[in-house]
Symmetry: C2
Subunit: 477 residues, 2 copies
Amino acid sequence: MTGDPAHRYEQLAAIIARMVANGALRPGSRAPSLRRLCKDHRVSLSTALQAYQLLEDRGVLEARPRSGFYVAARSTSLLSIPGISRPPATPKRISISATVQTLLEYAADPRLVPLGCAVPSAALLAGGRLDRFLARAARLEGARYNVYTTPKGDLRLRQEIARRALRWGQGVSPEDIVVTCGCTEALLLALRAVARPGDVVAIESPTYFGLLHSLEALGLRALELPTDPVAGVDCGALERALKDKAIAACLFSSSFSNPLGGTAPDDKKRELLRLLAKHRIPLIEDDIYGDLHFGAERPKPFSAFDPAANTLYCSSFSKTLAPGYRIGWVTSARYVQTILEHKLAATLSGPALPQAALGEFLSRGGYDSHLRRLRRAFADSMDRALRVIEQGFPPGTRVSRPAGGFVLWVELPDEVDSRVLLEQALRRDICFTPGDVFSAARRYRHCLRLSCGHAWDERIAAGLRVVGELASELSGR
Amino acid sequence: MTGDPAHRYEQLAAIIARMVANGALRPGSRAPSLRRLCKDHRVSLSTALQAYQLLEDRGVLEARPRSGFYVAARSTSLLSIPGISRPPATPKRISISATVQTLLEYAADPRLVPLGCAVPSAALLAGGRLDRFLARAARLEGARYNVYTTPKGDLRLRQEIARRALRWGQGVSPEDIVVTCGCTEALLLALRAVARPGDVVAIESPTYFGLLHSLEALGLRALELPTDPVAGVDCGALERALKDKAIAACLFSSSFSNPLGGTAPDDKKRELLRLLAKHRIPLIEDDIYGDLHFGAERPKPFSAFDPAANTLYCSSFSKTLAPGYRIGWVTSARYVQTILEHKLAATLSGPALPQAALGEFLSRGGYDSHLRRLRRAFADSMDRALRVIEQGFPPGTRVSRPAGGFVLWVELPDEVDSRVLLEQALRRDICFTPGDVFSAARRYRHCLRLSCGHAWDERIAAGLRVVGELASELSGR
């Protein structure tokens, strides 16, 4: 909840969008009148109008001349949401490193339509203000910072991270935070702190391929759990796995999981934590998408509910501000010392000036209004991508409806091989991420992930339409 | 060899200093006349005078009124150089992480006289010009660089690194270089590429404690080899170890090892490489001090002689320019792919702007003249420290005479426990590094390492004198 009056209309739009999404407002029906809106939500006419115009831009409402606003006939339920995943129940060794490299190369290739890697466009990230803080720090305080940072990282940055965490109920001491080289190092250090080579780590399925790669590098085995694209990992399946198998740790997304987009509701998070506490299994949580919520409230991470302090929380600024700065963090009251020791052995410390600049940036304010703009852009891009998928993908296609982040998970008809589809798309200079890289067992060959991290434009729209056409040809439908 | 005429006098001084060091010029004897110097070395009178004044500043020569220059009565042989080390012949598991953290905390404490961690002072590093390139890049090209760098790191930076390496005969393709988070990550990635948990890695003894820490983090065992403070690791001992034991890899300093200061001469490097090639053992070399040679020529790293390409070369800019930037690299034609995969899983990529700034800095020139100034400062500091040790440390003290780098290895009389000494020194706000942290077997309790990485001043001189007094008390001599 931002509380910023300048953006009241966005909050209002989110409320209406949720009513459409949950069926309280049905496709084709008339939306509440502007006058009604003003009365019910105590907003001005101009705020109400702005909210409806935003929803019109995003295809949720349609303005009909002299008649007002209607819920768009296109219903979000035209396409089903994928069902809960059914991964194999045995832990797998992983072999994915070669693939990861190829995907990163695609991401760095400006000729390709950027539906592949989950890296937001630099234009949307608008890091200019942060860069100016870096320039200033380099110019004025270079000598002061030309040392190894304290092992845990720049103190002010850690204080700012702790201050933000407090807002969503996560009480963290700056002394329990270790600044890392992105979320990748954070996850790796967390894994090293709680698992030994050969151990089994329970993960969502599908899950982020970089995480699979880290498990591979550490010689860990992955147990993929059935996961719902709306509500996250399946509690029952986890409970059965905990009874059957020696699991060293769980590693779940806090919110808006990559690639499925699901978020466990608060109650389910509590239930998962109780289950893990009972079995004394540590939980590593990846909250890298948590700040990118489309709804009014930021979802709480697991560690906000953790009474037993058996969580290791990982995040970074790479999806929201500065992938080029490579600044993430890991925090855990229980494991901070072990994490720090592994950090010292792995990278010693991080670059000092970028950390100092980011600490200064956060302390000056302005990050929240940046996040609001960014969420709006991602929601818009995702919404428009959904429309193209509805219109141009083969019958039987299912697609996720994440309430945050910027990736979509598309389940194509079974007969479409997304690796073949990718080959054809690359020949047309279009990139996406094929489904099998999100699974240790290399499932999901008929699925793909689309990144909506760029501002929508005709090139992206055309590229996505081509993917739909190619998929339709392959499906024969 | 710089070839820079403005610094001819330094080359000349180095030649004379070497004649003193190897006994060609004996303490108390008259140095060649200025006139003779001009004739023999084809230099101007002012160059010859500058050279002698530099040597006078460093205590190598003494000017006697109306009589010319004499080799200082203080002979460098007043104190013996420590003998070759005799570590235990069995591989050891390591447990040093807690110590490393404490040492880093001392390093970050400005109240302490900085004889501890091997971090040069920011004043000597003179990173201002690099910082200005960073400020410029952040201001003008922030958006361009707000992406993940290509996995291997900034291309221009890799090109500049390759260009420099070529000067000392190390032919490296930029494609075989992976930019890392300092030499720490470089060494860790190299170790991961060639060794598995439980494997034995042969190392110098004593060796850098950070390296022991990395071995510990990877679950590797260390086999410490007898090492000479002048000529580096003992070939015979290595040969015997290779026959007796399953060794996965060797990890040696290229030059000016930390803490002993030794450098294997070229012929010995070739011999070691032949030995390793015969047994097909990869060599990881740490060349972080290679640019800090006091003599005219930069020593060649092992990989400059490596016909079988079975070396993994690691270095960084942390000792010569920018510890705060955390930029190192690892290069190996044979292992680059494996290294890259581990890098992706560990940290994904490094921060983009600092790499871009460093690439720009190197391409513009000026680094070499900076290195010349730096070497002179380190040589000066080390020389002055040697004089204090000669004058104020207990009888029986031995000390290394490195021809580069900026650390001294001091062997105190057996009865002095350097841990007790450190406790007493810390109470007087003086820091050094106790000897036992340089050994997996925790030997060298009567030794210590001194960093000479700061410009010499009265505070440092007084601090070192106090260490000598405390050591004398403890030794009872």
